[in-house]
């Protein structure tokens, strides 16, 4: 679901970037206020979960792939604002270091996966949880399913609007060439079935595990934030070691082709036959490890290494962020020392 560079026109990117700016600002304020300093590194771990989840690519017959996002899981664990921030940062790390999702399209990707998804999913989760308090996991699953599908729908609409708005004199699309009639079904087929299911499993499995292994994490109290840390780190390590499974899916996700690949796609009945002009000479950015591969390393090892580096970067970001937050001193606690 990561929209690559140059699939959206620069003006579209600018619109989404501008739309996200106040959201990010608000998210930072909310997180500063609401998340206790001790819990901040946990938020980094949450972002790492999302990052790792997005590395587990699942293949679909027909050659396309997709993955879970985990934004709804984060929203349930930390609240939607924190989830927004965490997923945004995970996406940023992916775009900057691993070339997954375009830098210019960052705003749009965040809009889909870091804004629409956690807020919509969380709203559903909360409504359902109120209706049936005994079945929290079902509520979470439903929220996750709706969340990822809404995000995919948004991405599909963004793709589909491009050929309507931006064409050259010859009628060739400048950017993404597929209209809504193609992009929506193509995106949604995968997400309504396999990827949606993956998201549900990813969310409920981890949530269920955490409820059992580290219930203190899910509680609102800050004091025990460190209690379940060992289990969490264990889970992260497990996920990291598992990431090479994502390599089993050999295709490319719908809408994430390289420009050369794109010319051969035949969603319009026959192969497209040309590379959209805006893509050919658009903005290009060389990520450090494009596609999670590291030159000179076996693919799966490179994948693990990427996972470690990405995870650590995310945790570091939030740890550093936390160290800048001033904790008010408690002047009224009685002093035991004296």
């Amino acid at each position: 679901m990561h929209i690559p560079e140059n699939y959206l026109s620069p003006s579209t990117c600018a619109v989404f970037g501008a739309a996200m700016a106040p959201v990010w600002w608000l998210a930072v304020q909310k997180v500063k206020q609401e998340v206790p300093k001790e819990k901040m590194p946990m938020l980094g771990i949450g972002a790492a979960f999302s990052f790792l989840g997005m590395m587990f690519n699942l293949p679909l017959p027909g050659g396309t792939t997709g993955h879970a996002v985990g934004a709804v899981l984060l929203a349930i664990m930390f609240g939607p604002w924190s989830a927004c921030l965490a997923v945004s940062i995970a996406l940023f790390v992916q775009a900057l270091f691993f070339g997954d999702g375009g830098l210019l399209a960052f705003g749009a990707n965040c809009f889909n996966m870091a804004f629409v998804m956690p807020f919509a999913g969380f709203a559903i989760y909360r409504a359902l949880k109120k209706a049936m308090p005994a079945h929290e996991l079902i509520a979470a699953g439903a929220g996750a399913y709706v969340g990822i599908n809404l995000a995919a729908l948004c991405a599909a609409i963004e793709f589909g609007l491009q050929p309507l708005l931006f064409t050259d004199a010859a009628g060739h699309a400048l950017y993404c060439p597929y209209p809504l009639a193609i992009s929506i079904p193509a995106m949604m087929v995968g997400h309504l079935t396999l990827f949606g299911l993956a998201e549900v499993i990813f969310t409920t499995a981890i949530l269920g595990y955490l409820k059992k292994a580290a219930p203190s994490l899910l509680a609102d109290t800050a004091q025990q934030a460190g209690a379940g840390l060992k289990t969490i780190y264990g889970l992260v390590a497990l996920l990291i070691l598992g990431t090479p499974l994502g390599l089993l899916a050999s295709g490319t996700a719908w809408g994430e082709w390289d420009p050369e690949e794109l010319a051969e796609q035949d969603f319009l009945g026959s192969a497209l036959g040309y590379t959209p002009a805006g893509m050919e000479d658009g903005f290009s950015f060389d990520a450090l490890f494009p596609d999670y591969a590291i030159a000179g390393l076996p693919e799966s090892f490179g994948y693990i290494l990427s996972a470690i580096i990405g995870t650590a970067l995310l945790i570091l970001t939030f740890k550093i962020f936390a160290s800048f937050i001033h904790t008010p001193t408690n002047y009224d606690a009685s002093i035991a020392k004296h």
Partner: protein, 223 residues
Amino acid sequence: MIDFDDVCYAYDGEPVLRHASFHIKKGETVVLRGPNGAGKSTLLRMLNGLIYPELGTYQFCGTEITAAKMREHRYAKWFHQQMGFVWQNPDAQLFCGSVAEELAFGPEQMGLSTAEVKSRVEDALELLGLAHLRGRAPYTLSGGEKKKTAIASILTMNPSIWTFDEPLSALDEKSQAWLCDFLQALKDAGKTLIIATHDVSLASTLADKTLTIHADHSVELSA
């Protein structure tokens, strides 16, 4: 003149002052007492605008002292002229090449005329009995002489409020008696004095009020 309203301060989350509220009027002599580590030196540093309350407000003559206010150059300079600080360890306080320079440092900065600076320095040297040491480097003086030089260097700025941290420590009996007299003279001249000390007799002879910082870092002002 000095207004503390519910001031709290902590070093790295460790409270050192808790909910300090008191008022010091012009011309009062306040003795600051409390066990080691209670926060006396910290309070003096705050009074001198070196650190700022984490909670609550500190007002000096109706102006709240904040980091932003102290970044205003002119105000900060005026404030530091109004408030003199005599450190416990005079070594840290003396940085000029000779005693005379040390004494002239303050008034010269204030832009007084050369003649006036000179007369102030001479008066102070005379008053503190340092005249024969004027050319010596402060670093080479004995403990008592250093203390006197430090006091003289503040005196030439003529602040209206004097803060002292343990003024009597490391002084011999004669110097202690002299310093008590000097403090009394400052008091009679209408200066406001704030003195942190462990010395009971000084507290009883001089103090109009006693500001006590308890071991639990609560602050109490009593007459």
